[in-house]
């Protein structure tokens, strides 16, 4: 009994139109990593938010070390020893990385904040997580992955009994994940209870001792990690058999098809330099690389989100000058950004409006899409991407993280693009939906559209891409054939810092 830190019994909460948690029980022991699993919208984040005082439960009891608790705010929860990394990165962009890690608990010296110590210790912490960065730079200077690491570093450093990680690995690559797991094991050995939410089943089995599965706000069951197979687990989560993922058919390589987009030597000094690439009609081009390797920057240049300082881009034969994303959209491009909270969702608008937004933008505001068409559009994608919502008028901000991601994907698919750039589109998406998205991408290629697919999951890229560009250190390291290459090949390119030879295509 004494090794149970946290116990939640009969948790219930409902939002307008949804019963997000219904009679959920959850138990966490000292020194265990307990995975919390379920489809998008299953209620995982909500359970966490109830525990940390963001939401107040309608019913249920929570015991921490045997004492009943009822945190009224995140602060209270933190004081009780519950440290949390929420699903969306929740840090302050205007502060430095170091300050973000230490704010609220800064070391003091003679009654004043001791900046030296803060910066030193922040650097140590980030190094421990495998990040060698300048922690005195503002957080906004770094990519979402580093931000995520910083928020993990913060949570880890707080002296807590319970550590909650809500999809901490969604934008990390394998190296970072390995580092994170090392840290988690260390903490576990110190007797912490860790709640770990993820959609990567491999990671679940790699690090967790026990798992709890939710579906539609209800508890499906609690299992020992060793006592359940992956397939069983998926079946439990989704509620039906999942085989699609294992028999995806890659689109044929369109070697003869015309080039739809060509970039030569594009770059932004200091960020990424001298990237040349082309993509053919009907082709799926993968982008692999470690985090911070410059994939997002490249995609943003191609779409006009950031201005290109050198080099040129052309569509077909015409040179293209992109001043704003709208120019790219007008040329039949679409871009599903990596950071959905910052660049994706319009939180207070409805799902319908969010989906219609990009289409409407190309038409201009004087030619509105009729309500009825908007509604149809929304309904079509809600069904196609199985977005979990009572109706299309729900605010996007109230959807679960994965479902928000699907809405953004829908926004771009609705523009019917010739070239779709997807930057980590499967971030935070459950395994069923992931397979669905991959299927959609391949289908689009078969229809003669082109797709640029950025992902940190190598197997996902290899499974889908015709050609893969490997990025390293803010430059293009190699271009490999998607049909023949293996994970090991790509890892070798990433690791081989000395060699920069281009693999034959």
């Amino acid at each position: 009994m004494s090794d149970i830190i946290l116990e939640m019994r009969g948790m219930e909460i409902s939002f307008p139109g949804v019963k997000a948690l219904d009679q959920v029980d959850f138990t966490l022991r000292r020194g265990e990593v307990h995975a919390l699993l379920g489809e998008n919208g299953a209620g995982k984040s909500t359970l966490i938010k109830v525990l940390t005082g963001v939401h107040r439960p309608d019913a249920g009891t929570m015991l921490l070390s045997g004492q009943p608790i009822r945190p009224g705010s995140t602060q209270e929860a933190q004081k009780m020893g519950i440290s949390t990394v929420y699903q969306e990165v929740n840090l302050c962009h205007n502060l430095t990385v170091a300050e973000n890690i230490f704010i609220g608990r800064q070391p003091m010296k003679r009654g004043r904040i001791d900046w030296k110590t803060i910066n030193r210790r922040a650097r140590e912490l980030m190094l421990r997580m495998g990040m060698d960065i300048d922690v005195t730079q503002p957080l906004s200077a770094y990519s979402i992955a580093i931000q995520q690491m910083a928020s993990i570093a913060r949570a880890v450093d707080i002296n807590a009994q319970v550590l909650i990680l809500d999809e901490p690995t969604s934008s990390l690559d394998d190296n970072e994940v390995v580092n994170l797991f090392a840290v988690m094991r260390e903490l576990k050995a110190q007797g912490l209870g860790i709640i770990f939410i993820t959609h990567f089943l491999d990671q679940v089995f790699a690090v967790s001792d026990r798992l709890t599965v939710l579906r539609n706000g209800r508890l499906v069951g609690e299992y020992e990690a060793g006592a359940i197979s992956k397939l069983e687990l998926v079946t439990n989560m989704v509620g039906k058999d999942m085989n699609v993922i294992y028999n995806l058919q890659k689109a044929p390589r369109p070697d003869e098809a015309p080039v739809v987009l060509e970039a030569s030597g594009i770059g932004i000094p200091g960020k990424v330099e001298d990237i040349s690439l082309n993509i053919r009609k009907g082709e799926l081009l993968g982008f692999a690389g470690l985090l911070g390797s410059g994939r997002t920057e490249t995609a943003e240049m191609l779409f006009g989100v950031v201005p290109v300082h050198q080099g040129s881009i052309s569509i077909g034969e015409e040179p293209l000058s992109l001043r704003a994303p709208l120019d790219a959209i007008r040329r039949g491009m679409a871009f599903c950004p990596e950071d959905r909270k910052r660049d994706g969702i319009i939180g207070d608008l409805s799902i319908r409006e969010n989906i219609a937004l990009a289409v409407q933008a190309t038409r201009g505001f004087m030619h509105p899409l009729p309500q009825k068409e908007q509604q149809e559009l929304a309904q079509r994608f809600i069904k196609l991407l199985s977005i979990a919502t009572p109706d299309a008028d729900k605010k996007v901000g109230e959807l679960s993280g994965g479902n928000q991601q699907k809405v953004i994907l829908a926004r771009w698919m609705a523009t019917n693009p010739d070239l779709l750039i997807l930057d980590e589109p499967t971030r935070g998406i459950d395994i069923g939906a992931k397979a669905e998205i991959q299927r959609l991408m391949l289908e689009m290629c078969k229809e003669g559209r082109s797709v640029i697919f950025i992902s940190s999951e190598l197997d996902e890229i290899i499974r889908c891409a015709n050609r893969i560009i490997v990025m390293r250190d803010l430059a293009k390291a190699a271009e490999v054939d998607g049909d023949t290459c293996t994970q090991a090949d790509i890892l070798a390119i990433i690791a081989n810092e000395g060699e920069g030879e281009e693999a034959a295509v």
Partner: protein, 354 residues
């Protein structure tokens, strides 16, 4: 693990890092423009005494109440809020002191105490309203402004002058600036320049404000809230307490500004300091504080105040501008300031990319 201590910077390097830190750019831009405008004034009106020590000291002493209020305002603006009640509260302070000492015969210190209670209380109340009732700061403090002005009118609709030896002494306190003449005696410089209590108070409050912002947890929480209030709250920072405190502190600054104003004109009047809240806000913004929150420095605010102070000085030295030309001139200068600021920042962003 690499040796971290080896990366500790030397003094020179740290200075260079400070000077090239892009985060201080707005502040540098403000200082630069201040120097530019000062030079401009010096060229045009140097012969009339624009460059005299006295004129320079007057920048401080004539704007002390704006500066003191700007310190509190800087904090408020950094949290992403705004406070329109500052001038009204300062005016109320003046009236409380005037009515208390002159009509009721109370000791000024008692009146100041009452004013402090009123000002800080109103600040706390507004902060609570903003935090707990979620009423936008603009509206809350606008109501607070109406209220403070209203109470001031209720106390007395006539202006009341203050005759009290303590106030006289404080207002009359001056350190004359002197220099050695040919005989080596220390004499007052001409035209007479002095440092008065308000100037000292202004500088002291600025320094205190800077320390609060940079060296206390409270100050850092202010930045965090301005950066992203929701995140700050999820990080477990005491958002509610900080915000209420910020508005209370601003109330305190308003009262101090009111006291400075009392030392300046020794009277209370319900129409005094009309529209001064915008002077305070624009001084902060010119000093690089972002109204959207999360960005700003006390040092920038100091120069923002000085920069704003140069405009009326130049207008007075010009001596031929009527009200409407003065208004247009003021707005053109304002436009100029922000354009230069924009340009500096844009160009630095460009060079930083390279």
């Amino acid at each position: 693990m690499p040796d971290i201590h080896s990366r500790t910077l030397g003094h020179r390097e740290r200075l260079r890092a400070l000077l090239t830190n892009p985060r201080y750019l707005m502040v540098y831009a403000t200082i630069g423009i201040f120097l530019l405008i000062y030079l401009f004034g010096a060229l045009l009106y140097g012969s009339k005494g624009f460059t005299s020590v006295r004129t320079f000291m007057l920048f401080f002493s004539d704007n002390a109440y704006i500066g003191i209020s700007a310190v509190g305002m800087t904090l408020v603006l950094i949290t992403g809020g705004i406070d329109l009640s500052v001038a009204a509260v300062a005016s109320l302070t003046g009236m409380i002191i005037a009515y208390g000492t002159t009509v009721l015969g109370l000791h000024p210190l008692v009146c100041i105490l009452i004013a402090l209670l009123a000002g800080v209380g109103l600040g706390a109340l507004m902060g609570a309203c903003i935090q707990y009732l979620n009423v936008p700061p603009f509206i809350t403090t606008l109501t607070g402004m109406f209220f403070a002005r209203g109470v001031t009118s209720l106390i007395s609709r006539e202006s009341i002058s203050i005759k009290h030896s303590m106030i006289d002494a404080l207002a009359g306190f001056k350190i004359y600036l002197t220099w050695p003449n040919a005989q080596g005696e220390w004499v007052k410089i001409k035209p007479v320049a002095s440092i008065d209590l308000n100037t000292i108070a202004f500088l002291v409050v600025i320094v205190i404000g800077a320390i609060i912002l940079q060296r206390t947890r409270f100050g850092r929480n202010v930045y965090a809230i301005g950066g992203n209030e929701q995140s700050a709250s999820l990080m477990g920072l005491p958002v509610a307490r900080t915000k209420v405190l910020v508005y209370s502190f601003n109330g305190l600054c308003s009262v101090l500004a009111g006291i400075a104003y009392v030392l300046y004109v020794k009277s209370g009047w319900n129409l005094s300091l009309q529209g001064a809240e915008l002077d305070v806000i624009s001084a902060c913004v010119i000093g690089g504080v972002m109204l959207s929150g999360g960005v700003g420095y006390m040092f920038g605010t100091l120069f923002g105040v000085l920069l704003k102070a140069t405009i009326p000085a130049i207008i007075t030295f010009n001596g031929a501008m009527n009200s409407w030309w003065a208004k247009i001139f003021t707005s053109v200068l304002l436009l100029l300031f922000i354009m230069i600021q924009r340009a500096v920042i844009a160009s630095s962003q460009r060079t930083r990319r390279k």
